[in-house]
């Protein structure tokens, strides 16, 4: 019994609309799992099902080996943190932390001890007597995390907890959540639409679309070997370049570009002739002196430059497709200039043009 949360054949329907379909997911003890997807993909719905805030149509949910499919949220051994913090505004921070515990009729000493412990971890001791209205967004979210922490549970659920914060606070709190996970070693399930949050926090990421999990794997897996074109395009910023073409005689052809696929690691068997899409990330295209090491070289004309400080993003055309390349921030390049790019098939991804599955 190593799994903390097991989801078996989960279905959820609202009337005729299927929000989740035959969903299976096992989450190990102490694992940090991120549910990632664009809005409406069912990720928050799945989290609400795990929390017990939504009744499932079919299937089972097990937490710590117990079937909790029909248990009340408070009896499932979970703590939850919400996007809008959902603090009780009329109570002080201390009241917010203790209200659930008092209601569960825990001894006073135990409550005090748990609040002390949680507020130490989250560094909110000076705020205990204040009301939520007197706190900043980051402080409120810490209190909300504290409310989950004092419940002393094994599984934490986060529903886009950082989406209401500004960029800098988001980055700070992200690190804190990661630290918290390393310290507590609890199972955490985290919903987000922000791929940076997902990549930095997760042990494993589940990419969702249309109520189903498209790919479940480590951040490296998902970034390096996306199972289909959707995942490939969703992960990575700027997003992956796609070139439509065909495979002929073991080489990918698009317009005047030919890419021999000798170094490519096919998912099943080898190259099969037919229409194919080649995907390559802007950061995996080499420029400058490294070009000579790349198996494929192609000349392009620089159309647009977007400097971001650390990098420069170059817009150009390859085989009639819009193509972006990431260069070093210091690289000297100007619009209209001819640039030689190096492409390594080993770092590219090939997708079947019809099914969009990885080849």
């Amino acid at each position: 019994m190593n799994n903390s949360v097991e989801i078996k054949n989960l279905d959820l329907q609202f009337g005729a609309v299927k929000v989740l379909q035959d969903l299976n997911l096992d989450i190990g003890k102490g694992e940090f799992l991120v549910l990632l997807g664009s809005s409406g993909c069912g990720k928050s719905t799945l989290l609400n099902c795990i929390a017990g805030l939504l009744d499932v149509t079919a299937g089972q949910i097990h937490i710590n080996g117990t079937n909790v499919t029909w248990a009340e949220p408070s009896e499932r051994g979970i703590g939850m943190v919400f996007q809008s913090y959902a603090l009780y505004p009329q109570m002080t921070v201390e009241g917010n932390l203790s209200f659930g515990l008092k209601n569960a009729k825990l001894p006073k000493a135990e409550i005090a001890q748990r609040i002390k412990h949680a507020s130490e971890i989250l560094q909110i001791e000076p705020l205990l007597k204040r009301k939520p209205a007197a706190l900043s967004g980051g402080q409120r979210q810490r209190v909300a995390i504290g409310r989950a922490l004092v419940r002393d549970v094994d599984v934490f659920l986060f529903d886009e907890p950082l989406s209401n914060l500004d960029a800098k606070l988001r980055a700070d709190l992200r690190v804190e959540i990661k630290r918290l996970h390393q310290r507590l070693e609890n199972t955490m399930i985290y919903v987000t639409h922000d791929q940076i949050e997902a990549m930095t926090l997760a042990d494993r990421i589940a990419i969702m679309r249309g109520g189903q999990i498209m790919q479940l794997g480590t951040p490296d897996d998902i970034y390096g070997r996306p199972v289909n074109k959707y995942v490939a395009g969703f992960i990575g910023s700027p997003s992956m370049n796609f070139l439509d073409g065909t495979i002929q005689n073991g080489a990918f052809k698009a317009g005047d570009l030919t890419v021999p696929l000798a170094g490519y690691d096919f998912a099943s068997g080898g190259a099969v002739d037919g229409p194919t899409t080649l995907g390559i990330r802007p950061e995996h295209v080499t420029t400058g002196q490294l070009v000579s090491d790349a198996p494929i070289q192609v000349d392009v004309i620089v159309e647009l430059i977007e400097p971001t400080g650390s990098d420069k993003l170059i817009d150009c055309q390859v085989a009639g497709h819009h193509f972006r390349v990431r260069m070093e921030g210091q690289a000297s390049v100007s619009v209209g200039q001819t640039l030689r790019l190096g492409i390594d098939p080993a770092r590219a991804s090939l997708f079947d043009a019809a099914t969009e599955e990885r080849l």
Binding site: A51, L53, P73, S84, A86, L87, Q90, G100, A133, A134
Partner: protein
């Protein structure tokens, strides 16, 4: 620079001009009328206002009149029951309606409809419903319960409760709609958080949701209380103050004195007493509510 700072008096000039009629109305009609009434309450005015001073005579007479004492007592009973019950009924209806039920719009409209009726119509309708000859009592007796008796409007001891029923029927809908709007304004995630914390629904309402609805409660309170204090037309239509003087209320006393008994001085004294009572309630509350507003988050 040639231009000078423009005169502050003329800033937003058109807006100030537009506000003048209302300012004049407020000053002359409300403040002026109030002062005038208070001044003439110390006179012996009969059919017409005259400045023949009698000191506190009108007030002494007022507090020695049984009709006035009954009126005050009725207002206290009606006011207290109305305030408590209209909030309880309105909130419970709103909470029930907030459960994502079907036909919510229909139900809400039906419950709000009585509020669209005037007090005169409400009074008449309930006068008929509570009439023993052809109202509830005769219907229940028609079913075979021969000894059934329900005629509040004909029993001086409980007649005011008959008026209360009509008032509740008319007023609950508005309170419900306001409360429903307040409930809808509560973040759904707060409910979720309370469920995860294992807090029962009723406790969530009392300790979390209702405190969050404080502004709505204050608005509703003001509406309900003003409705109670100016209670007049419902009484006239439903009971005419009867049986005897059992359902007299202060506003009706004022009207009767001024326009039926040709005793303006007495009417002014009674209305001044009403003003003082309202002021005694409102002023401390206003100081509490708005005085410390700078410290509020």
């Amino acid at each position: 620079m040639a231009s000078e700072r423009p005169n502050q008096l003329f800033r937003n000039g058109s807006a100030k001009i537009a506000a003048i009629p209302m300012i004049v109305t407020a000053l002359f009609v409300f403040v002026g009328g109030t002062v005038w009434t208070v001044v003439y309450s110390f006179t012996k005015s009969g059919l017409l206002p005259r400045l023949n001073w009698v000191g506190l005579d009108q007030y002494e007479r007022l507090w020695a009149t049984r009709k006035w004492l009954v009126a005050i007592e009725n207002l206290v009973i009606y006011g207290f029951c109305m305030l408590v019950l209209v909030f309880v009924i309105g909130f419970v209806l709103a909470a029930l309606l907030d459960q994502k039920i079907r036909f919510e719009n229909t139900v809400r409209t039906i419950i709000l409809y009585p509020y669209a009726l005037s007090f005169v119509v409400t009074g008449l309708v309930w006068q008929w419903i509570l009439n023993p000859e052809f109202g509830v009592e005769s219907i229940v007796r028609g079913w075979g319960w021969e000894s059934f008796s329900f005629d509040p409007l004909y029993n001086a001891d409980i007649a005011i409760y008959g008026v209360l029923i009509a008032g509740l029927w008319q007023g609950s809908g508005l309170v419900m709609v306001l409360m429903l709007a307040g409930l809808r304004g509560i973040d759904q995630e707060v409910w979720k958080a309370a469920r995860v914390d294992g807090i029962p629904t009723w406790k969530t309402y009392i300790f979390i949701v209702i405190p969050m609805m404080r502004p709505v409660f204050i608005t509703t309170l003001v509406l309900v209380v003003t409705g109670i204090v100016k209670l007049y037309d419902l009484i006239v239509a439903q009971t005419g103050g009867g049986p005897g003087i059992a359902t007299e209320v202060p506003a009706k006393y004022v009207y009767d004195m001024m326009f039926q008994a040709n005793n303006l001085g007495q009417g002014f004294a009674a209305s001044t007493m009403m003003l003082v009572t309202v002021a005694l309630i409102v002023i401390p509350w206003a100081i509490l509510e708005f005085g410390g507003s700078k410290n509020r988050g």
